[in-house]
Symmetry: C2
């Protein structure tokens, strides 16, 4: 058990003196030491080399008094292991030359033993845990099956993922076959992360909010629910569905330990929709870290007052932006640590 | 008064036999006859030539039994008239070489007489009304002040408009000065459209949903509210805030005649948040027009059952996609016309 147990206490709903804090994408792009490393190694090399992944994971821990570390990695390592050779283009992001377009493409996908195909992730966990020396807990993560399908079918990032949605609406049976394959493999992946010692896992449903509530139930939540059901007795599971305010009530009735919320929902509404019964995580507007530090400090503390200290994990409402000054991120964390 | 008064009846909350239907962006990119015209004339030529703008406005009217026409134009004609020379790049969309970055930039903005600077729009209205021959009503539109600020400060489209948001968070006084200038000018613009005979106006707040509820109140709703207050005694005003589910209750207490909703809110929730007291417009997922026609037909009719026939205008939840087959759009409209 880590010496700083604030994060795990909040996940378990135990009483805390102040809420824990961490920042989505804290291990990365806004840190000068990360940018220096990026000059030398490309994206997936940074993910695949356990020495680099663990070094990057520790970067924000060394700078800020955060209450949890999150393993540096990417949601696309899972589809890569299944036989989708994703690249990251520095300008446009994820790219898959031959996106999934047919039932044959789906049938061809592999599900090799995770220890073999993704061993580098588990080795990075082992190394990171040694470096963390039981000071704070370590979070592991994956994408949601729907979010992975979005990239697999679209082949690249998109504002609206219309191609992925059209695929689901035109061939729901294919979509479900693909989603089930991704789900089963991701469950095996996260279970192995937990075996290797991560203290909690977070499922990122970055694109769930592009679906109507009905389609969300059919194409996203159905599979996240399977993941929660399979994993929640092994470690606390956090579900973060960006834009998924409409599903918070359903999510709060699952076995998840916490739900991430973005900044477009007020703390009051988030508590109302979840009937105050589950730990919430969020939801500072990432762009507000570009405001003057005194504004960041005041608004972060106001956010805590509105969510309440208990059953709450302070975080951003989405990943930290690359152009956030380090001082501003530090102010955000300090506002939480100094909260009375 | 147009012969087909269904749309204005729904806006006024009068009883109807079936809900009216139109589609956001119906005059444009998914129609082959529009694409043919696009080969010959660039974007703003199509907006600026009244003969072309009125011809394009009529295109969907000739194809589908829709209950309202919307004038072909663009929200950026307003900032253009104020001295921001926006271009449209076919690949990346709106582009402004020197985005607003200082108080001087804002002070330099002009507010020439709208009849002079935007006369081509009013001439397009005159021509279109003649062509429509009082068959169906004509809608005029503008962007919301916040949405125009997004483009003016960012200088181009964006997923998150962080630069625009940072501008507001760092210089709220500048932001408010800019927003007020845009508001006053847009009110004059829409008032003149109404004078020229449009039967209703719609305010598009495409990027309101990127703000937290508090920031939305400060930077977007405050100005939309001024527009509604100034215009609602002249013609019915529809407010469409994409992603602004969190503001529906506030909006429903304004003088707007109808509120547009996107597809991420269920009809039941939209009615609940607005307490059943205002006409709603929406909210078919535009990507669902890529589904097989029989699915489109069934889901469109199901949507009507869920919203209810009264106080309802059938529409998409955002603009029609360029790759929608004409047959599918026709099926959508037919599902409404044939609804019993």
């Amino acid at each position: 058990m880590p010496k700083n147990n604030l994060f795990l206490d909040a996940l378990a709903g135990r009483e805390v003196q102040r809420p824990p804090v961490w920042m989505m994408r804290q291990a990365g792009r806004f840190l000068p030491e990360f940018c220096a490393l990026r000059e030398k190694y490309d994206f997936f090399t940074r993910c695949r080399r356990p020495d680099l992944a663990s070094e990057i994971t520790l970067m924000p821990v060394k700078r800020f008094p955060i209450d949890a570390a999150i393993l540096f990695s990417d949601i696309l390592v899972v589809p890569q292991a299944m036989g989708m050779p994703f690249e990251i283009k520095e300008s446009t992001g994820p790219f898959l030359k031959n996106p999934i377009a047919s039932i044959e493409d789906i049938e061809k996908l592999q599900t090799p033993d995770v220890e073999q195909s993704l061993g580098y992730v588990f080795e990075a966990i082992d190394r990171t845990l040694t470096l963390l020396n039981d000071e704070i807990p370590l979070i592991g993560f994956s994408g949601s099956p729907w979010t992975i399908l979005c990239y697999a079918v679209e082949g690249r990032g998109s504002k609206t993922f219309d191609k992925a949605k059209a695929f689901c609406f035109q061939h729901p049976d294919w979509a479900h076959l693909l989603l089930q394959k991704i789900t089963d493999y991701t469950i095996a992946y996260l279970a192995k992360k937990i075996e290797h010692g991560v203290h909690a896992v977070q499922i990122f449903d970055s694109w769930g909010g592009l679906l109507s509530p009905k389609d969300y139930d059919e194409f996203s939540w159905k599979y996240i629910k399977q993941m929660v059901d399979s994993l929640s007795d092994k470690a606390p599971v956090i579900v973060f569905g960006k834009g998924c305010w409409f599903a918070l009530e359903t999510m709060s009735n699952s076995g998840a330990s916490a739900l991430g919320v973005d900044w477009t929902i007020s703390p009051q509404k988030a508590r109302e929709f979840t009937q105050g019964k589950i730990t919430l995580q969020g939801n500072f507007d990432p762009a507000k870290l570009l405001a003057p530090p005194e504004k960041i400090y005041a608004e972060a503390q106001q956010m805590i007052r509105e969510f309440g200290v208990q059953k709450y994990i302070v975080n951003l409402g989405h990943g930290i932006l690359p152009n956030v000054p380090v001082e501003n991120a530090e102010t955000f964390v300090r506002a939480v640590v100094e909260f009375k």
